[in-house]
Structure formats: structure tokens, C-alpha cells
């Protein structure tokens, strides 16, 4: 019963059953050409010892493991939603999922973590991998699907229609009458950040509103990064009447900064975000934002990876999912302009 002892190996089973490990392997893997009585013996030995084959040894020897990998940096609510989608897509597919997360968030491995983890997993452990928001291009010997890729990445990917979403929400602000609209952009290297910023510029251009470089600030998608930027924007004498932040986390932080500065939202300032995280509905006032179905990002990525691994993927290798404008209380016509 191997309780606290060394793990039971195939040799242990072979010895007890009085056969070779080759035969045990055949029984374990249901290969043809083993006599019924031998199967019986081996089965009983397996039962008796509580044997389970080692994933590591098996994967080292075999080319196919039926395990898919997912590499991530952290576990925010975003990640959790992605995972739900991935798991649902993999349900009953015969593929198990292994997730690799490194713990040295601020340590020596911070740079290029995704490539390192990918290489460690994809040697032989997994048949393919999903990588979430990598900071650069990723390469691997097995199929890879990237969720929210780095800008310019050529890897198969799944992403929301960030450009359309940003255009829509900035268009909404323009429609309310705003003309001075600040933008707190996201992490420079990410495709998503770039598209959202581009959507902002395009919406302004289409409305004939001249672009003011002084109204754009660059954050990192991290909520904390937005505080000083929002403060700087709101301290300007020609303060914007609205701010579009490229993520809800940053938008919520902006809401907080506005409150600290004694500004009323949406009376003195309209604020809009991107993502539609659960906290946005709870904020006071509720945050106007763009919904991207993070669940579907995960679902579609897993579906694509599954197909790629099986060699039966016929669809496009770049999937762009629709976004949806969600209007709540944080945006209104400019009220008390200076």
C-alpha cells in the first residue's frame, strides 16, 4: 500500500506478477497480444500494490501524452476565468491539463518566464501549450496558442477585438459631448494595449477631435500604475472631462483618485474602463466599460490547441472575439466644465 514509502514502480508489479516489465506495460496500455491469464495476474498485482504509472517516465518515452499545458505568470480573476473556459473546452476531450506557474514573480526568472516554462513543459510532458499574455514571442516544438499575445507575435492566438471595443467606448464618450478625453494606456509590448490605444486615437480622429499627446499616459495594466498617471492628468489646468483607462483595474484606481481630489464622477469627470471585471459592476458609481469574454478567450484557445495537436485544425490560427460596450453610471455628459 506504499504509505509514505517509495512509489510503486512497474518493476515492483512485474516482480509480483512474475512477468517482465514489457508485459506489465502492455497490460497497462491495453495492447493486444497478452494472454488472458497473464492479464489477470498483472491486474491483480497492480491492484495489490496500488500502482499508478509515472507521468514523467511515460512522457519521456512516448511522443504523445494527452496532456495539454498552460503557462501563466499569476492568478488574478482574469486567469481564473480563462481557466474555466479552458477546462470546459477540454471536458471529456481525453486531454488533461497541467498548469505551470512560477513563484518568482519579482525574482531572477521574471524575464522571459514564458519561454522558459514553455520549454520545460513542452520537452515531452505536454502535447501542446497555451500561454497567457507573454511578454514576447514564444517558440516551441509542439503547438502553442497564445492568449493576448505580444505585439507583432506570429504565434496562433486568441484575443478580443480590442480595437473595436476601444473605439466604441471612446465613441460613447464623444457622443456624450466630451472633447478632452484622457487615455491611460496599457503595457507597451502587448497587442491588446496597442489596439486599445489605437482605438482611442481612431475614435477621436473620426469625430474630428484633434489628438493631444499630453492627454495620453502609459500604465502597465496594473491598477497601481494608474494612480500617479490619473493624478497627473487631473492636476492639469486643462483637465480632461473624461478618462478612458485601458483596463478596469486602472479605471477603478482612477475613480479612487478622482474621489481623493474631490471630483464628482460623473459630474466633474467621466471614467470608462475595459474588461468588465466583476468589481466594475460593484463600484460606486458602476463603471462604464467594454466587456471581453475572458471565459471565451480560454475556451477558444483550448479548442484551437486541441485541434492543432490532433492535426485537424482547419480554422484560422488567429481568433478575434467580439467585445461589447457596457454603459454604467461612471459616464455622463460633461457637467461642470472649467
Amino acid at each position: 500500500m506504499a504509505r509514505g514509502g517509495a512509489p510503486v514502480t512497474m518493476s515492483d508489479v512485474a516482480r509480483l506478477a512474475g512477468v517482465s516489465t514489457a508485459t506489465v506495460s502492455r497490460v497497462v496500455n491495453g495492447r493486444y497480444g497478452v494472454s488472458v491469464s497473464t492479464i489477470e495476474q498483472v491486474r491483480s498485482a497492480i491492484e495489490q500494490l496500488g500502482y499508478e504509472s509515472s507521468l514523467v517516465a511515460t512522457s519521456l518515452r512516448r511522443s504523445r501524452t494527452n496532456v495539454l499545458g498552460l503557462v501563466t505568470h499569476s492568478f488574478q480573476s482574469y486567469t481564473a476565468e480563462v481557466l474555466k473556459g479552458v477546462m470546459d473546452a477540454l471536458s471529456q476531450s481525453g486531454f488533461d491539463l497541467i498548469i505551470y506557474a512560477n513563484s518568482d514573480l519579482y525574482g531572477t526568472y521574471s524575464d522571459g518566464w514564458e519561454q522558459r516554462h514553455l520549454a520545460r513543459l513542452s520537452g515531452t510532458l505536454t502535447d501542446g501549450c497555451i500561454v497567457i499574455t507573454p511578454s514576447g514571442e514564444v517558440r516551441s516544438g509542439t503547438p502553442v496558442v497564445v492568449i493576448d499575445p505580444a505585439r507583432g507575435s506570429a504565434a496562433p492566438s486568441v484575443t478580443a477585438d480590442n480595437f473595436a471595443g476601444a473605439t466604441a467606448v471612446v465613441g460613447h464618450l464623444l457622443g456624450l459631448g466630451h472633447r478632452r478625453i484622457g487615455c491611460i494606456a496599457g503595457r507597451a509590448g502587448l497587442e491588446a494595449a496597442w489596439s486599445r490605444e489605437e482605438g482611442y486615437r481612431t475614435a477621436l480622429a473620426e469625430a474630428g477631435v484633434p489628438f493631444d499627446p499630453g492627454l495620453i499616459a502609459r500604465g502597465s495594466f496594473n491598477p497601481e500604475s494608474a494612480a500617479p498617471l490619473a493624478r497627473a492628468l487631473l492636476d492639469r489646468p486643462d483637465r480632461p472631462t473624461a478618462i478612458f483607462a485601458a483596463s478596469d483595474g486602472m479605471a477603478l484606481k482612477t475613480l479612487q483618485v478622482a474621489k481623493e481630489l474631490g471630483l464628482d464622477v460623473p459630474g466633474d469627470l467621466s471614467v470608462a474602463g475595459f474588461d468588465n471585471i466583476p468589481e466594475s459592476a460593484l463600484a460606486e458609481p458602476g463603471l462604464t466599460t467594454v466587456d471581453q469574454s475572458v471565459y471565451r478567450l480560454g475556451y477558444e484557445a483550448a479548442r484551437m490547441l486541441k485541434g492543432l495537436v490532433r492535426g485537424e485544425w482547419e480554422g484560422p490560427v488567429r481568433t478575434v472575439l467580439p467585445t461589447r460596450l457596457v454603459v454604467r453610471g461612471s459616464t455622463a455628459p460633461p457637467g461642470s466644465p472649467w
Copy 2:
């Protein structure tokens, strides 16, 4: 640059550097006794080929991998919270985390999944594992910490003080004047389910309220399982004036059933849950519940596992974390008794 080709192995590096794989291994692992010039050659070959050591091969050969495992059945918000705690506890610890989730939720592997996954990982891949809500006892050659163990499990574990929490919330209902309090209990085999039910009984006993077996129904912690049970309870001629459900998911479902039956909450019926999931604050009315810090469950489990693996754990191997009563609008004195 191994783009889409076979992964680069240590032999490739050795060949290019003109040394043996033994020497490459020494350089990769920073072992002493390699000449500076050789180190230089090997380093440059590694760089050139983009070599990363295979986690699988390394772990098969070595006893220690500095990777901790986590085995789970699904990815609910509960799991996500646990993961956040685990990751924070592991931050900068030198341990990476690998999570194994099986996709056959309703397939052939459903039974004993935790033991199977544990065995597959703990052969050599991980130095120790956390297992979330296993359905039975788990055993492994490496340290294991269980979050919300099966009833009667002897494994090291971390769990909330479910008994105290249930006693408190049922005490709250009794204090409001309720005497007929229904109970929708959780999955039979789990320690948490048992303790919550036991807390219910104890609170009644202490208040001198006789226990009515007809008022107790057994669900599975799954929200869906609660609907027919709630309906049956509320269809009784001697309907309870309050229902305590052993999880928020089941309590929210009960809220919904009550609404369908035209019952006002809390006017006609008080409802209380357990867990304090985010949705409970958003419900209308807000759900009275017991807060258990799922984040801390994960944090403490990881902390314990880390210590166990390093052989330096001095604390208790069973950690029970405090719970906290959260009163919201779903409970009130019995209003319109029949």
C-alpha cells in the same frame, strides 16, 4: 533556434560545445570543477541553441525538483481564490507550482481522481502536493496537504472552522426568533459538510429546540442539487421559517426557489449560507452567510507543504482557520408565520 523542430537537448549542446553531456550538466547546474573556458564554451552553445533543460528528464533523474503540485477537480471561484493564496505563499520561495486538472469531469476517471493524479505527479515530478477537496483518503510517497479533507482523513490538512461558523449562523437565526430552521447539508463524505451539519444540530440543541429530521436535506454543495431540496422543504405544510444551506451556491439557489414560490425573503423566509462568495454580496437581498477565507486556506496549505517538504515544519499538521458571521438582508425575525 529550434522553431517548430524537435526540442534542443543536452546532447545538441554538448556536440556544439565539443564536450560531454556530463560537462554540460555541470555547467547548467552550476557545479564546481569546470574550467572557466569550458564554462564559456558551453554557455555560448546554450545561448546559440536556445537550450532549456527538460523538466521531465531532470525530475526523473533527481530526487528534488523544487516543484510543488496541486491537484484539483475543477476551476470554480473557490479554486481561483485558493490558488491566489497558494501563489502568494510560494512567491520567491524557490518552488514553482504545477497544477494538474483532469478534464473528464463526468467520465471514466471520476472516481478516485485525486489519488490517480497525485500518483502521476508525485512519482518524481513534484516534491509534494496540495489536494483540494478529495473524495477520500489520499496517500503519497511525498508530503501532501489536503484542503477540505474527506471526513476521517488522517492527512495533514487545512480547513475552516466549519463547526463554529455553522453554530454561529444558526445561532443568529435562533436569536432572531426562528424555531423551525431547515438545513440543506453538503456532500456527505466531506469533513466540511459534516461539521456544518453538526454545528446546525448543536446550535439547535443548545437553544433547546428539538431536532426535526424532516427539516434536513442533503445536497452535494452543487447549487443545482439544492433546488429540489429547497422546493420540498418549502412545500411542507409546516414549512420552516428559515433555511440554512451549507454553501452559498445552494443558498442562492434556495433564494431563487423561494422567489419562484412567491415567498418574500426575508419576510416569509430567512435564508443563510456558508462561504461568503462574491455573488452573495450582490444577491437581492444580500445573503447572510459565514465567511471563510478561501485565500488563507490556500496560503496556509502552501506554507505547511513548503515546510513539510523542507523537513522543517514544526507546527501542527492540521490547521483550522477562523470563520466570521456576515449578516446581510436575507435574514430577519420570522415575519408572517403560517
